[in-house]
Symmetry: D5
Subunit: 92 residues, 10 copies
Amino acid sequence: MLYLVRMDVHLPHDMPAEKADAIKAREKEYSQELQRQGKWQQLHRVAGEYANYSVFDVESHDELHTLLSGLPLFPYMTMKVTALAHHPSSIH
Amino acid sequence: MLYLVRMDVHLPHDMPAEKADAIKAREKEYSQELQRQGKWQQLHRVAGEYANYSVFDVESHDELHTLLSGLPLFPYMTMKVTALAHHPSSIH
Amino acid sequence: MLYLVRMDVHLPHDMPAEKADAIKAREKEYSQELQRQGKWQQLHRVAGEYANYSVFDVESHDELHTLLSGLPLFPYMTMKVTALAHHPSSIH
Amino acid sequence: MLYLVRMDVHLPHDMPAEKADAIKAREKEYSQELQRQGKWQQLHRVAGEYANYSVFDVESHDELHTLLSGLPLFPYMTMKVTALAHHPSSIH
Amino acid sequence: MLYLVRMDVHLPHDMPAEKADAIKAREKEYSQELQRQGKWQQLHRVAGEYANYSVFDVESHDELHTLLSGLPLFPYMTMKVTALAHHPSSIH
Amino acid sequence: MLYLVRMDVHLPHDMPAEKADAIKAREKEYSQELQRQGKWQQLHRVAGEYANYSVFDVESHDELHTLLSGLPLFPYMTMKVTALAHHPSSIH
Amino acid sequence: MLYLVRMDVHLPHDMPAEKADAIKAREKEYSQELQRQGKWQQLHRVAGEYANYSVFDVESHDELHTLLSGLPLFPYMTMKVTALAHHPSSIH
Amino acid sequence: MLYLVRMDVHLPHDMPAEKADAIKAREKEYSQELQRQGKWQQLHRVAGEYANYSVFDVESHDELHTLLSGLPLFPYMTMKVTALAHHPSSIH
Amino acid sequence: MLYLVRMDVHLPHDMPAEKADAIKAREKEYSQELQRQGKWQQLHRVAGEYANYSVFDVESHDELHTLLSGLPLFPYMTMKVTALAHHPSSIH
Amino acid sequence: MLYLVRMDVHLPHDMPAEKADAIKAREKEYSQELQRQGKWQQLHRVAGEYANYSVFDVESHDELHTLLSGLPLFPYMTMKVTALAHHPSSIH
């Protein structure tokens, strides 16, 4: 099942650079592992913003929440989730 | 270049059913032709709404506008376009 | 899987009363059939508004969209869908 | 009487982890006690967000406010309360 | 139990004046009957707008919804309901 | 002249408890004095929120502003003021 | 007492030109009479919009509402009223 | 003096095609005359929408309003005007 | 040329009182000097809020920005500027 | 390809003045270099706000994001990007 997720990142300005870098490194690793598993199907940067639009393909709302809330950047993000259904005009 | 587009359809309640059906049939044909050309890469229904999220892959803003404004349903839609850039954590 | 859905109804003021009554009667029948099947688990009126909050328990986004878009009042409604996951403090 | 409540949690980033954990532990205990009493009828996680949708069944606005303002996380939450009435199409 | 209700009226511009006047006359009668019963405790015009802020004192959400949805102007109104609890600093 | 005022309180999370308690105690005293004078006619808690809806009966905008800006919690509040006029259907 | 009022005009597109012209002529006359009385102190066009910002100097909320609701264009306007108090830095 | 103006066009769905075409033809002529005079410096389509962002270079708010309110499409547009000042980092 | 400006002040809660007082004193002096010059024509307190509505009469957008950005409180304010044009019904 | 970008700057109030000045100096240099290259075509101050509207002329969304995210003030800005297409009435 597909979910469109928009994530906006808001790092506190007083977070030490090393801490921020460490979190981002773990975020990248975590994200790429999920991409390789096929669960995080797409990951796009919103041009001009510290934000992304992603598409997840998972079994259930619970699995989606587990994956998203496990993101190292989760405490610093606002999320907006949209459930995507099949479109009758889609050729896929 | 990729663009995320959300389209919400608002057909007037007093549009005759045959006219609405004709427009929708042309819309489907138009959409599937663009999908086959690879320009309309993805087309998903927003669950519960007369709306879709789509991804377009075109050469320029001008090409995007030409495609979108040519939609048979264009006069009855509100559109929201987001430019998508490459994300540094994407494995693609 | 659970979905919270808020539905707001906007009937055109110039719809003849018989037509409105007929749609509402079909809506009620449709809704109660889905409730009896256990798919439409809860249905509450928003106090003071021509709107409801509902909880659906279905297999997928596609099933949800099929049920919602089949509502006789669907062309006159705005919908807001929220995917509900298990809460770690829930005793259920 | 039923109330739908959406709660969004915003913990300050500089709150020490032990303090946050202690508050969350008390929150869980408090929540489960109210669930066992039947006052906090439903508790669902909003998928992808540090937020929940809950249904309370209490005697009055005063009782609702007493329960909600007693939540250990209350100072860190924004709340949205909706009064739910009986729906004429509900089979319950 | 007290509820604050804001009502905004939007009459269609093409409603014949006699019909509008008849609805408003019934609205006034209905409103004053509820005021005399003590259920519609306060009724104030929002200065400059075709809107009011009202306070209702009723037994339940169901009673509130029954009263509000029975308003002759209900099909032409948008409503916003806020549940009011006792304030610890109130001297009443 | 009547004014409806909604006040939302946002105390900084790092304010020491004694300071917060002292401000709240002064706020209560100040509020009750104005209630006894008949200027702060009504004070209701918004159920579930650290907020209130109040009705003031004062001589002028200037008097209203003087009273509101003198609130000990004023620096921590957002206010929304609505001027209330007589409603032609009111029986008062 | 001063009130800042923003008025936005939305004439129905199917209103006959003569009717619109007649309403606007009465509006102008009404407005200028109130300006000459000193009650409608200022009247400014919002550049680029069919809207104005006005300042009224009247005795009470009731007088303001009577004046505004008497505007020939009132049924076609949305209004936003702000109560203006004396500013301690004003030299007037 | 420069003004950024966003214009969104909302033509009524029941406007006859010939009337719409005639208005659009006059709009184009009007617009191009102002562009040739140097008053309408820039005119860009918002990709995917029946809207534009324009930059005007005129003498005063009054001149801007005269130009904008004279647009044949003005009755069918919503406008948003932003006054643009010189930026200290601009090399122009 | 006239501009309506709404200014909302948000002083950080941890700013020392002396610093705040010093800024406000300079703000008052600055404001009154501009009022005496006729550039800051009107200054009104928004009743109940730490905000004002002002009218400026200056030569250009650049002069307006220079005056506003020179306000001692500027770093702590949000501003909303509206260009005001002559209204055809104004008697001035 | 053209993009309209609105940038709003929010510097933390506790940033030392020297640090802020250093960032702003680098921002100016960076901005002027891009202006000289023709990529940052226009840069306008929003009158009364610490914000700008800019027009960029770049090859792709990726180039735009690289330029914007490289701004020294980027961590302190909110951005809004709009893709601009050719307008059929433009004389350019």
